[in-house]
Amino acid sequence: MKTLMKGNEAISQAAIVAGCKAFFGYPITPQNEIPEYMSAAMVNAGRVFVQAESEVAAINMIYGGAAAGVRVMTSSSSPGIALKQEGISYLAAAKLPCVIVSVMRCGPGLGGILPSQSDYFQVVKGGGNGDYYTPVYAPNSVQESVDLTIKAFDIADKYRTPVFVVVDGTLGQMMEPVEFKPVTPYQIDVDSFATNGQSGKRGYRNMVNSLNLSAIGLEKSNFELKATYDEIRKNEAMYESSVKDGDEIALVAYGVPSRIALNAVKALNDKGVKAGLIRPITLWPFPDEAFKLPASVKIVLVCELSMGQMIDDVRLALNGSVPAHFYGRTGGVIFEPEELVDAAIKVVGGGK
C-alpha cells in the first residue's frame, strides 16, 4: 500500500523498517523532520532516541551504539556534517557500520537553509583525517530515498563501514507516494567485533579501536581498508543512463536536479539535439562505467546545484575522452530545464 510522505519522514520510517535500533541527532534545518519523526517513532517502537548536545556528541553516540553492535543512524545538514567528520573518520577506521543522512543546504559558513548540492565534496571526499571513503547514496525520489536508506544499512553491515544517504533540501521536503516492502536485513556477526559488555557470554573480549602506533601495523590496517574499498568499488556502483548510440551530448546530474535534467533532455530531443542523461546513484563509488560513452557523444554537460564539484569525478571517469562542461546554480537557486537546454545547445554548438 502506498502512502504519501515527505522525503525526510520517509527516510526516518525506512530506518525503522530496516531495524535501526538507535538514533542520535541534533537539530538543524532542513533535516529537522528526521529527528522529530524519530523522537516519537523510535520511542513508540521501544528503540532509542537521544537528542545530543551537538553533532560532535551525536556522532560519538553513534560510535558507541555501533560499537555495541546494533543498527544506528544519525542525520544532519551541511554545517552539522562538518562537525561530524572527526567521528566519521573514527567510525571508518574502527570499521563500525552506521548510516548518516545528509540533507544538504547551501554554504559556505552558515550559508542558507535552501537546497543545494555544494556538499558533494564533503560527503564524497571526506573531511575527516586519513585514508578512508564512505559509500554515498544519492536518491532522486522519495521512494528511492526509502529503498536506498534500507540498502545503506545492509551495505554498512556487509562492509563494516559508515554509509551516507545524501539528499538536498528539496527532496527532504517533497511529498510523494511511497511503499515500504518487508526487509530481510543482512546478518552481521555481532560477536566478532561488538563491545556490548558480553565478554562473559562470548568467552572473549572485544576491542574497538583505531589507534596503532606501529608503522607496519597501521599500514596493514590501511591496506585492509583499501581492500574493502576496492570490493565496494567493484560491486556497489549504481547509476542510470539513457545515453545511446547516436546521442551527441550527455547531461550528468544526481539527486532531484537529475529530474530537471531529464526534462531538459526531453526538450533537447524535441528540438532535434540528440541527448541522453547519466544519473549517478552512488557518488562513491563513482560509477565510472557510465562514462564509457558511444563514439557519437562529443560532449558532456554536468549540471549541479553547486559551483562544480561532481564534475571533477566526471572528468576523472572520462579520462580525457571528451570534454566536460558545467552548468550550475547555487545559494539555493534551482535551475529550470530551459537553462539546461540553453547551456546544452551552447556547448553542442561549440565554436559556431
Partner: protein, 248 residues
C-alpha cells in the same frame, strides 16, 4: 605455597605502559579489583580516552573502546543506551574531560546517564608533553605556561566536582587522592560505590582522583606525591560532592 599477592584478574597480561611513579597504574588496579569484587568484569565496557591512558582498552580485562579526544561520555551514552544491561565506564584525563570534552561531560551528567566516570586530575597534559591543563594550578609551570599559570591570562583552574555538583542529576561525585595508602584505600571505596550505583541504576557517578604525573611535572615520584598533598589538595578539597544514596 600460599599466594600473598597476585595481579588482579581485572587486568590483562599486558604490561602497563605508564612512566615509573605514575598514578594511572594505581587507579587501574583499583578499578580492576572493583570490577572483580563486584562481579562485573564479564559484562563491562571500558572506554579509553585520548591521553596517556589511551591504551586502557588493552589493560582492562573486559570489552574496550577507544574514543576520540573528549568524547568518551558520548560514546558511553551510545553503548549504555543500546546495551543497558552492560556496565559502562569512561577513564579520562583532565584535558580530555575538562577541556575538549567539557560539553560531553556536563551533558552526560545532565541526562543522568547511568555510567561511571573515572576522572584522573593530574593538573597537566601528560601524553603530549606536559602542557597547561584546565586543572593546572595557579603559578604552576608547564611547557605552555613557562611563567607559571597566571589568573589574568589563563584563568583559574577548573574544579570539576564543584561544577558538576550544581547538576541535580549527578548522582554521586567524590574527589579522592592516591598520594598515600590511606587515601588509596578511600579511593578504592569511592570507585566501588560509583560502580555499585551504576549497578543499581542510579545514574551518573564520577570519582575525581588527584593523581601524580612525575614526568610531566618534572619531579621525582616521591616529590609528586608531596605535590598532590601540599599543592593540589588545598585547591581541590577531597570529599563527597554529591551522594544521592546518602541524602534522605
Amino acid at each position: 605455597m600460599a599466594i600473598i599477592y597476585e595481579k588482579s584478574k581485572g587486568l590483562t597480561e599486558r604490561p602497563l605502559t605508564y612512566c615509573p611513579g605514575c598514578s594511572h597504574g594505581i587507579v587501574h588496579k583499583l578499578i580492576a579489583e572493583t570490577l572483580v569484587e563486584l562481579n562485573l568484569l564479564d559484562h563491562t565496557v571500558a572506554i579509553a580516552p585520548v591521553g596517556c591512558s589511551v591504551f586502557a582498552y588493552d589493560f582492562f580485562n573486559c570489552d574496550g573502546v577507544q574514543a576520540a579526544h573528549g568524547r568518551a561520555p558520548a560514546v558511553a551514552t551510545g553503548i549504555k543506551r543500546v546495551a543497558p544491561e552492560s556496565i559502562v565506564f569512561t577513564y579520562q584525563g583532565d584535558g580530555d574531560l575538562a577541556a575538549i570534552g567539557t560539553a560531553e561531560t556536563i551533558h552526560a551528567a545532565h541526562r543522568g546517564e547511568n555510567i561511571t566516570v573515572i576522572f584522573i586530575n593530574n593538573a597537566i597534559y601528560g601524553m603530549t608533553g606536559g602542557q597547561l591543563a584546565p586543572t593546572t594550578l595557579v603559578g604552576q609551570k608547564t611547557s605552555t605556561s613557562p611563567f607559571g599559570r597566571n589568573v589574568a591570562h589563563q584563568g583559574l583552574p577548573i574544579k570539576v566536582c564543584e561544577m558538576l555538583a550544581a547538576i541535580p542529576s549527578s548522582y554521586y561525585l567524590e574527589r579522592t587522592s592516591v598520594h598515600d595508602v590511606p587515601h588509596i584505600r578511600k579511593t578504592k571505596a569511592a570507585i566501588k560505590k560509583a560502580f555499585q550505583y551504576q549497578v543499581d541504576g542510579k545514574g551518573f557517578s564520577m570519582v575525581e582522583i588527584l593523581s601524580g604525573c612525575p614526568v610531566g611535572w618534572n619531579v621525582s615520584p616521591v616529590e609528586s606525591m608531596k605535590f598532590i598533598k601540599e599543592q593540589m589538595m588545598p585547591y581541590y578539597p577531597l570529599g563527597v560532592y554529591r551522594d544521592g544514596g546518602a541524602e534522605i
